[in-house]
């Protein structure tokens, strides 16, 4: 980052600028000035302050006291933190790929000359813009083991449904099931991408004798792969910060038996129930590094499966 800003500086304040460029520079900066203020005050300053706090002992009412890497050492021995890491990983590992597969599959179905397309699209899409609090309250009630309709539907096919959110074994699958209800946003994005796949390519492959499955594998999926990459990355980032639904359904506790204690939930507890701002900042930095790590991994791997020739 430092090298980038230096290059920028050289360009910005070099003495080869004409009066006109100088003027447009001033006007340009004036236009983006709200962003500059926001960037410095709400991004850069808190970013570095949080890094500093992460190395401090900082109960909220006292002044921060520098303690080096003590918080991070403590984190590595904190079994609740390790649990929260595993819970978040569990959620991400299942919710993100399942969401991608369901999203692509439903979009492909809708892309097959469907009558009443806009009706289906509406039905699929609406849940994804519903307030999380609404979907959480509804699913909380649907997943009620004794009187909820999820277990009622299961009982229709002779399955004795589990305790869902009350059972440490089933609480995370319950959250994943719930997350699939919101897959409609991705469906609309994938559908738009599918409609952009050039018809000539599909016709050419048909003339070459490719069947539907091969067409999907060799033409359609490669053509929409940049969109898949974008969605998977934003999905991963979202999954690691998954917060609201759990906070609402468990009242911020991550119950039962810490089985839904996500990184974000534990972070919130550390900051607003235990008021340990330094320790919470250290957690946020571990979360940040994990997110960056997986984003980079995804980009690195993307060279192998993402096809950019289409645009």
């Amino acid at each position: 980052m430092t090298t980038v800003t230096q290059v920028g500086k050289k360009g910005l304040f070099g003495d080869r600028l004409t009066r006109e460029t100088r003027r447009s520079l001033a006007v340009g900066l004036l236009f983006i000035s709200p962003w500059i203020i926001g960037f410095l005050a709400f991004r850069v300053y808190p970013f570095f302050t949080s890094l500093y706090y992460s190395m401090c002992f900082y109960p909220v009412l006292a002044t921060p006291k520098f303690t080096g890497i003590a918080n991070f050492v403590k984190l590595s021995n904190d079994s609740r933190f390790l649990d929260s890491l595993l819970n978040s990983a569990y959620y991400a590992v299942f919710a993100v790929p399942l969401g991608a597969i369901a999203g692509i599959a439903l979009a492909m179905l809708l892309n097959m000359k469907v009558k009443a397309l806009s009706l289906f699209r509406t039905i699929y899409y609406l849940p994804s813009i519903t307030p999380v609090v609404a979907s959480s309250i509804v699913w909380l009630w649907m997943l009620n083991p004794k009187s909820g309709i999820v277990n009622w539907v299961l009982s229709l096919v002779g399955i004795d449904g589990p305790g869902w959110l009350g059972d440490p074994q089933w609480s995370k699958p319950a959250l994943i099931l719930m997350s699939l209800w919101g897959v409609g946003g991705a469906v609309v994005i994938y559908l738009a991408a599918l409609q952009d796949v050039p018809r000539e390519l599909l016709e050419a492959s048909e003339l070459d004798g490719a069947n539907k499955a091969r067409q999907i594998w060799h033409v359609t999926l490669p053509m929409i792969s940049p969109v898949i990459l974008f969605n998977v990355i934003t999905g991963l980032i979202g999954a690691f910060q998954y917060f609201a639904a759990v906070h609402i359904m468990t009242n911020g506790s991550g119950s039962p038996a810490d089985s839904t204690l996500m990184m974000s939930i534990y972070l919130w507890q550390t900051a607003f129930q235990y008021f340990k701002m330094g320790y919470a900042s250290a957690q946020s930095w571990v979360m940040f590094i994990i997110i960056i790590f997986f984003t980079i991994i995804m980009f690195k791997l993307s060279g192998k499966w993402v096809y950019y020739g289409g645009r």
Partner: protein, 297 residues
């Protein structure tokens, strides 16, 4: 377009295909709709259940097998949500946050995006790279220092922390609007410049009117974002008289528990109404907007 191209092609295929293939084609059609309808049920059931629960009496809540149509429907539950739980206050509070956010978001992001697209200044694209880089910065990294700043400013338990940052631009919307502005012909700005219009006049009188569809997308998404926001209010608002709809409902759940679930569900149902209405009135904007944001990433 797909519809006009397809019939001729399929006609041609059908004339040449034997009966067996036609049968599989019919089966595929049936299967396609079967799957689509099955998923529709999955997506619709929670809505039906929500509405049904919101009209139940306490005795009907915990019955097995579940009751779908309450007898008689308890419309009073919706009234309770207003009387007992101050749902009306929550709505007003949410609007007092969401409306300034929409105005601020449209104005500031348009201004910023203009500076990143229609004005050529040295270093612009490098700085725009910084805008994009902040997109992957998780909110969780910055929220503790922000909380502490707001506390020093005495902004905790006010709407400022939820509104002011929105007035300073969001990378996502800057990106979206910049993309749109760059698609407008350069000649427009040149003509205005020749006529001696200032950059600000070109912006307000030429570019903004043309950008209405993109501005509508920003306004819509910002409203939904503010209406649905949970994390911000739960951190910054502590007084019940300041609660928004989302944390108000979450609080009802904790305060009144399972025996009053019907009117909590009534409040929940009402919280979805503005979103549904917006969707039906602005469906095109939604679909175009979401496609715009997803594809160009």
């Amino acid at each position: 377009m797909a519809d006009t191209l397809q019939p001729a092609g399929s006609d041609w295929v059908q004339r040449k295909t034997p009966l067996g293939i036609q049968v599989t084609r019919v089966l595929t059609e049936v299967l396609k709709y079967a799957v689509l309808i099955l998923f529709s049920i999955f997506f619709l059931l929670p809505w039906v259940w929500m509405l049904s629960t919101s009209l139940k009496s306490p005795q009907e809540l915990n019955v097995w097998p579940p009751i779908w149509i309450p007898e008689p429907p308890q419309w009073g539950n919706f009234l309770y949500a207003f009387q007992e739980a101050q749902f009306g206050t929550f709505v007003i509070n949410t609007l007092r946050i969401a409306i300034p956010c929409v105005v601020g978001s449209v104005l500031s992001n348009a201004l910023i995006a203009y500076g990143f697209s229609r004005i050529h200044w040295p270093g612009r694209d490098v700085v725009f790279g910084l805008v994009l880089a902040t997109m992957i910065l998780p909110g969780f990294v910055t929220f503790i220092p922000l909380y502490i700043i707001y506390r020093r400013l005495d902004w905790i338990n006010t709407f400022y922390p939820l509104v002011i940052p929105v007035w300073l631009g969001s990378p996502f919307y800057i990106f979206l609007l910049r993309q749109f502005f760059m698609g407008l012909p350069e000649a427009l700005s040149d003509a205005a410049r020749v006529d001696g219009a200032s950059e600000l006049r070109t912006f307000t009188q030429i570019i903004l009117p043309l950008a209405r569809p993109a501005l509508a997308v920003v306004a819509l998404f910002q409203f939904i974002g503010s209406w649905n926001d949970y994390f911000g209010p739960i951190i910054y608002l502590s007084d019940k008289s300041k609660y928004t709809v989302t944390i108000g409902i979450a609080n009802m759940r904790v305060a009144y528990g399972f025996s009053n679930f019907a009117w909590i569900m009534a409040a929940t149902t009402m919280s979805t109404v503005p979103i549904i209405l917006l969707f039906f009135f602005a469906q095109r904007t939604f679909i175009e907007g979401i496609a715009m944001t997803g594809l160009k990433g």
